[in-house]
Amino acid sequence: MSVNTALFDFPGPKARIRHRIYAAVGVIAIAALLGFVIWRFADSGQFDARRWEWIQYEYVQVALVDALVNTLRAFAAGAVLALAFGAILAAGRLSDHAILRVPAAAIVEFFRAVPLVILIFVFHYGFSLGSPFYSVVLGLMLYNGAVFAEIFRAGVLSLPRGQSEAAYAIGMRKTQVMNLILLPQALRAMLPVIVSQMVVLLKDTALGFLITYKELLDYARYLGGIAEFGRPLIPLTIVVAALYIAMCLLLTWLANYLGRRERRSEKHVEHDDRLEKQVEAV
């Protein structure tokens, strides 16, 4: 049923007929739109067998898998480094000493404000790091690290105050409170948010295309220009889009699954809504 039925009265017989008419019109409109798109695709010859032949060649398949592996490599390296960088920054931001807190906050603000493209350009063209892989991974690490730092911080701050107060009351030190009491609980609550940010990170690996990192889009661009296959740019875009959507949906599903499991768990702690706000803000 609708998420907010309260917006509408429960439909009576007249409303139901009206809704059915709307639905019919809607189906026709959507079908017409889709039909137009598909007709344009077909009419400009995008569905011709010749333009899809490339998929049968083994070397193309191998190259496509290689490109996919490159995308995943940048994703994996970027994700691990971003988590580490984020943990360090979050520790800095949660520190009691202003000398650590202020620079950490400045770094987080800076990397969140600069577009990832510019960061990657700085490393690739500014510092000439050579292999585009390093520039992509460094850019992903710095930008997403700053975002992860905010997520970690929000996760720790969203725990009820009583948790840390009780820990201090039984004589724990600051590090003990953080490591034994706050982090284990915060991590549980943060996990779904972290995985959703991973989706963003995975999507951002496509920016490697701009600096000719040999990832999926780069290969699509190359193969899409080959006359022998009839320049199959659109079929390739469709295939690459399907790959990305499948990978991202998998991660999103994982995030939702973790979220559901966390809420059901006995260890679930009611945290305030700052964490959700944080997610929206990201």
């Binding site: 917006l7 493209v117 510019i118 350009f121 063209y125 500014g126 659109i234 875009t237």
Partner: protein
């Protein structure tokens, strides 16, 4: 400093186009996003499904891929004549369609934060659907919509730089011109980064101020 002062023409041209891209795409995505949000809360299941499908597909597609499609692939479909179709238009279309999915989610979750009791009470005193939405739901939803909407717009502003890879002359493309003139690319890029910080930080501060203010009022 020299790199900035000697090449002011490029910087001004680049950032002017960035802001133009931003303004056009922001307007288009706000309109399209609102329409999508309306679809997603509609009582007709087909509309809801269509809205959800759009948001799911677009949110899980990299922006670079959307650009790739609308700059390289879209002209091949020959829907509009190729002479009128510049990369700039392609960039506006790509940014608008991409951002609209996020705008839609912000508006929808804003409407969802208004407690059902409010809507039920409005219905109970006999307000019509339009009145319920206009006088009760939207004024309350605005409080929880505006701060995340500013975040979405900040993301859009930063995302305009992706267009640099698709032959649109904007802030991200300043680098090309600097290296042609033999200027230091690193310094130039750091200036670009710095200008973005100047553009984004006030928006971030505004967003936080509104968030704080309105979370107290609730």
């Amino acid at each position: 400093m020299d790199v900035l002062l000697d090449n002011t023409d490029i910087f001004v041209r680049g950032f002017r186009n960035t802001l133009l891209l931003f303004v056009f795409s922001a307007a288009a995505s706000l309109v399209l996003g609102t329409v999508l949000a309306m679809l997603r809360v509609s009582p007709v299941p087909v509309f809801r499904a269509a809205g959800t499908a759009y948001v799911t597909i677009v949110r899980n597609t990299p922006l670079t891929l959307v650009f790739f499609f609308f700059v390289f692939a879209f002209p091949l479909l020959k829907i509009i004549s190729q002479d009128d179709y510049t990369p700039f238009i392609g960039a506006v279309i790509a940014l608008s369609l991409y951002t609209a999915a996020f705008v839609c989610e912000v508006i929808r979750s804003g409407i969802n934060t208004v407690s059902p009791g409010q809507m039920e009470a409005a219905r109970a005193v006999g307000l019509t659907f339009g009145q319920t939405l206009g006088s009760v739901v939207l004024p309350q939803a605005a409080r929880s919509v505006v701060p995340p909407m500013i975040s979405t717009m900040i993301a859009l502003l930063k995302n305009t730089t992706v267009a640099a890879g698709f032959s649109v002359v904007e802030a991200g493309a300043i680098r090309d011109y600097l290296s042609e003139r033999g200027e230091s690319v690193l310094v130039g890029l750091l200036w670009v980064a710095f200008i973005f910080v100047i553009l984004v930080i006030p928006l971030t501060l505004l967003q936080r101020a509104l968030e704080k203010r309105w979370s107290v009022a609730r």
